[in-house]
């Protein structure tokens, strides 16, 4: 039936390359098509929504830039020694606060440690914290939120109230209180704290996405066929609800990296001898007048990293947005 969205639909329709090849070559002429109804073979390749999204992403400069930055980050967190030969823990007080010089392009910080080496090694902590926290948050949040959304009822109400409570907790204050009692110098308490406070965000997104997907007729169609709940969830709902979770998780990854730096700066996150941008920013800030470079480089790395993840999330959102298709 025709409607006022007609131009939109006509255009949306034309937005799908495959469909158009099909409409053009497809004869669908016969009530009963014997074998291939159309003389000319259809040329359109099968394309899933994911491959369509990838098709879009490859042409998106925002995606390309942020993906390059992130790939580089992952590379240096896995093999920091590939581009930084020294050790981040070898410091020479004699060189404290010295500026850029051969062998130390970023100069030295207040303790006489090489800023370049420390910035490179700091990426590992940031990426590790960000990735682990995001994974934990995504798994916990989407399982709890997805199940609540699918089954509804009392558990859904209870979960919604719990997420409300968590949203009411100020993150930094919570971190100051909870993490100040921890003595471990590994990254795990920080990750645990982020998962604890972060899952309600994903859970809420996942719950909404599942409820939306659940109402689609194809879920009803599968139910009418006699499909089990696990089949409905895994085959029909999850693949259609996962996109917003991925987008939010990608953006959240950036913010977790920033949060780690914040907590470390405040002294409750990672503690030396861990190497982290937050620790370095904290250590360099008293000397901002004498050695601004010691503050500038880790802060810059942090800002670029966070921005890269947020941009990546935005690009992925655009590519996955079904309204554009």
């Amino acid at each position: 039936m025709s409607d006022p969205r007609e131009p939109a639909r006509a255009i949306a329709g034309t937005g799908m390359g495959g469909a158009m090849d099909l409409a053009a070559s497809e004869a669908e002429t016969l009530e009963r098509a014997p074998g291939g109804p159309d003389g000319g073979a259809p040329t359109g390749k099968p394309r899933s929504l994911w491959s369509d999204a990838w098709h879009d992403l490859r042409r998106n400069p925002v995606f390309l830039v942020s993906a390059l930055v992130i790939l580089f980050l992952i590379f240096i967190s896995l093999w920091p020694s590939a581009i930084a030969s020294g050790s981040p823990l070898r410091c020479d007080l004699a060189k404290a606060q010295e500026g850029s010089q051969p062998g130390a392009p970023f100069g030295y910080d207040g303790q006489g440690c090489d800023v370049y080496t420390r910035t490179v090694y700091g990426a590992r902590t940031s990426v590790a914290v960000g990735v682990c926290a995001t994974l934990g948050v995504a798994v916990l949040g989407s399982v709890l939120g997805g199940l609540a959304g699918f089954f509804g009822g009392v558990w859904d109400s209870i979960l919604s109230r719990i997420t409300d409570i968590f949203f009411a907790i100020p993150v930094v204050l919570g971190g100051l209180v909870l993490l100040s009692v921890v003595t471990s110098s590994t990254i795990w308490p920080v990750i645990g704290f982020m998962v604890l406070l972060g899952w309600p965000q994903i859970s809420r997104i996942a719950r909404g996405a599942v409820i939306t997907a659940k109402q689609n007729d194809y879920v009803q169609a599968a139910r009418a066929l006699g499909a089990s709940n696990s089949r409905l969830l895994l085959r029909h709902i999850a693949p259609n609800a996962v996109a917003p979770v991925i987008v939010v998780a990608t953006i959240a990854l950036g913010t977790y990296i920033a949060l780690e730096a914040t907590l470390s700066y405040l002294g409750v996150g990672l503690k030396p001898p861990s190497v982290s941008w937050g620790i370095d920013i904290s250590a360099a800030s008293p000397y901002i007048r004498n050695a601004p470079h010691a503050l500038l480089w880790p802060s810059g790395a942090l800002a670029v990293t966070v921005l890269a993840f947020i941009m990546l999330g935005d690009a992925v959102r655009d590519a996955l947005d079904p309204r554009l298709r």
């Binding site: 039936m1 025709s2 409607d3 006022p4 007609e6 131009p7 639909r9 006509a10 255009i11 329709g13 034309t14 937005g15 799908m16 390359g17 469909a19 158009m20 409409a23 053009a24 497809e26 004869a27 669908e28 002429t29 016969l30 009530e31």
Partner: protein
């Protein structure tokens, strides 16, 4: 002539190329006349109307040619400022989905009154009085009380009446109604169509009725223009077209709808699908689906042949179609 659209072309830029939504549409409406523009989705009927109203999204849309003469002036040459004065005051539009076309946080009285405040500089109080008057005019019972209500408190049919009231507010010379009754139930549909027809007579307005429903058209239209792939393929007074269509597409449409008054055998079905606007077939756009197509149809775009003084058909073989 109230409105004269001449050789209008509209394109849309899309990811996959240029979609030619309107390819040389020519039609006209007189005061007091109802022109029905009939077409399926993607035929360009709504895009044409949006271009006439000046509410086409540009970009991605682009008017690449033609004239829209309204009371002698070419609207496409006007500045946006002047265009806005025409819109609402001299021509108005009614949409299919009244719920999304009305602002949910304002009372219907405020929305109706706003027209008078903005265009006529009335005081709020006078505007409110006019709003009640308008609601009476579109036969909403209890207008005095209901003027304070919000859109969601009205039923679908009543909301469509409010939309009509809004369109009528400044007594425009032309109303464009885009599928005004498609979202409504049959019994309510009849009420709304009746109202539109009555108001048109009363106010001697021109009415362009955009629809896909051959039944609705037969009930209210004076003339009818059938669109396919962005062109008008047949244009005719309403009586003639139902008796003897002069274009195979029109004939196919008429034959393919089931009739209320007879238990049919197999329905005639137009084969295939409407074409992609990115890739409109050469020659006559309808030829891949046409039972009468011959070689010339694949190469030559048919002009709108004159069938009679008031009729035109864009088919090389209109004579055969008319008599076959």
């Amino acid at each position: 002539m109230l409105l004269d659209v001449r050789d209008l072309h509209v394109e849309f830029r899309t990811r996959d190329g240029i979609a030619k939504a309107v390819n040389g549409v020519t039609y006209s409406v007189d005061a007091g006349e109802t022109l029905a523009v009939l077409g399926e989705s993607g035929s360009g009927k709504s895009v044409t109307a949006q271009a006439v109203m000046g509410i086409l999204d540009m970009p991605p849309g682009r008017i690449t040619g033609g004239e829209v003469l309204f009371q002698g002036r070419d609207l496409l040459k006007l500045k946006e400022e002047e265009r806005r004065k025409v819109r609402g005051a001299e021509m108005a539009m009614i949409f299919q989905d009244a719920l999304s076309a009305l602002n949910p946080v304002l009372t219907v009285g405020d929305q109706l009154g706003e027209m008078f405040v903005v265009h006529r500089g009335m005081s709020k109080k006078d505007a409110r009085a006019r709003a009640v008057e308008l609601m009476d005019r579109v036969r909403i019972p209890g207008a005095k009380e209901r003027v304070r209500q919000y859109p969601h408190q009205f039923s679908g049919g009543m909301r469509q009446r409010i939309m009509i009231a809004m369109a009528l507010a400044l007594e425009p010379a032309l109303i464009i109604a885009d599928e005004p009754t498609t979202a409504l139930d049959v019994t309510v549909q009849a009420q709304v169509m009746e109202l539109l027809a009555e108001l048109r007579r009363e106010l001697n307005m021109g009415l362009i009725l955009i629809t896909h429903d051959l039944g609705v058209v037969a009930d209210v239209a004076d003339r009818i223009a059938v669109m396919y792939a962005g062109r008008i393929v047949e244009s005719s007074p309403v009586h003639d077209i139902y008796k003897a269509p002069a274009h195979p597409y029109t004939r196919g449409l008429l034959d393919s709808i089931p009739r209320l008054d007879q238990k049919g055998q197999e329905l005639y079905a137009i084969k295939g699908l409407p074409p992609s606007l990115l890739n409109i077939p050469p020659g006559c756009a309808f030829h891949p689906r046409c039972p009468m197509a011959r070689d010339v149809c694949r190469t030559d775009v048919p002009p709108l042949y004159e069938v009679s003084e008031e009729r035109g058909s864009a088919c090389h073989f209109w004579r055969e179609c008319l008599h076959g």
